[in-house]
């Protein structure tokens, strides 16, 4: 799967924005049935998202849907309407433990079978946005193979912690680190929370660079204007790119020659370094880096 650096939230009841989704430049979109939709319009948003999933060509966009929480009256209806349309993933709010993921997994599996969709097609993105969810992050990430990603919900988590969300983000530093480690340990992707101040691109870039360095694989956006800035933060630098190309070349040669040990620039290279090099080259492809002459 191609790297997914940005995930743009689009209100599920906003057809004007949904139909323009492919031109915003995001790697993926998140059609929202939860916070972005008024209580009186939940049914309308659910139907709108289902119709677009069924009939609209989103080109090569990865399309996910954030459903309402399992503790709401809307959760079952959301799954019943959305799962038959087979989005790439369902984002589930406020996962507090593996039991929340497993309960959703069972319901999704039943709906997949009912609609002749191969079991496991619709993945789960589990939102970590409570203190107890954070404590259980690894158990949530590894609860079942359907989990594809952990996502950090910064606004709700800081509210649950009784602290203010600031631009500096120190109050989220531990949570971000913990979620990244949990996701990496479980072998799933990990998405950072949104940057709320749409006009402050400098702040967004600074935060995006921080989360790239912490190990996040992507970041949520709440406005199309934020996408370019997020992508800028994920761009590998020339030196990293050239080294990654040399690592991959050496790895491919070693494989052909049946060698188990790889050496690049006089230094031993092991499997995690090769995996990172592969990821960097996949990212570099998105920016049009030329591999020749590396």
């Amino acid at each position: 799967m191609k790297p997914c650096r940005s995930m743009l939230y689009i209100p599920g009841d906003s057809p004007g924005m949904i139909q323009h989704a492919p031109v915003f430049g995001a790697d993926s979109i998140l059609l929202d049935l939860e916070d972005a939709v008024a209580l009186t319009e939940k049914d309308a948003a659910r139907k709108m998202v289902a119709c677009y999933l069924k009939y609209y060509d989103f080109k090569n966009l990865i399309v996910t849907v954030r459903v309402n929480g399992a503790d709401t009256e809307f959760f079952d209806d959301d799954l019943k309407e959305i799962i038959p349309c087979a989005p790439a993933a369902i984002r589930i709010p406020k996962c507090n433990g593996p039991q929340d993921v497993l309960a959703a997994d069972r319901k999704i599996e039943a709906l997949e079978k009912e609609n002749s969709i191969p079991v496991g097609t619709v993945r789960i993105h589990a939102m970590i946005e409570t203190a107890v969810g954070l404590e259980n992050a690894y158990l949530i990430a590894s609860a079942c193979p359907r989990v594809q990603a952990l996502t950090l919900g910064g606004q709700d988590l800081t509210a649950d912690m009784g602290v203010q969300k600031t631009k500096e983000g120190w109050e989220l530093f531990y949570a971000r680190s913990r979620v990244v480690v949990a996701a990496r340990a479980a072998g799933v992707d990990v998405y950072d929370t949104v940057w709320a101040d749409i006009s402050d691109k400098e702040g967004l870039l600074k935060e995006s660079k921080l989360i790239v360095n912490l190990g996040f694989t992507g970041k949520a956006a709440i406005h199309p204007d934020q996408i370019e800035t997020i992508h800028q933060a994920f761009m590998p630098n020339e030196k990293e790119f050239r080294k990654a190309a040399r690592v991959m070349e050496a790895a491919e040669n070693a494989k052909k020659e049946g060698k188990g040990v790889i050496s690049v620039d006089g230094k031993m290279v092991d499997a995690p370094v090769v995996a990172r090099a592969r990821h960097l080259l996949e990212l570099a492809d998105l920016y049009g880096f030329e591999r020749s002459g590396s």
């Binding site: 057809p15 309308a44 139907k47 119709c51």
Partner: protein, 94 residues
């Protein structure tokens, strides 16, 4: 899908650009009122869409009014289905 029986008047949608407002009411036969800046251009498309959805819900009669603000067919279908579901209930098959 089970047959839908309309019980009340209901609406769905907004007057924002790329959207439409659909209002449906119980009626003996199918009646469509379609308004919007490009209603002449899209009259046939809209008629077909309404017929298609009416068939899907086994609807025998309804008064349907659509104020089109430049909605794609997908959007109009979603609004129409929402309005119908708000206006009625599905009959349980005997």
């Amino acid at each position: 899908m089970n047959k839908l029986i309309l019980l009340r008047t209901a609406s769905a949608g907004t007057l924002e650009s790329s959207d439409c407002v659909v209002t449906v009411s119980p009626a003996e036969k199918m009646e469509l009122e379609y308004k919007g800046a490009n209603s002449a251009v899209f009259a046939e498309r809209t008629r077909q869409l309404v017929d298609d959805v009416a068939k899907q819900y086994a609807l025998e009669g309804a008064q349907i009014s659509i104020q089109d603000q430049g909605a794609l067919e997908i959007t109009m279908r979603a609004r129409l289905e929402t309005a119908l579901q708000r206006a009625g209930k599905e009959a349980v098959k005997q």
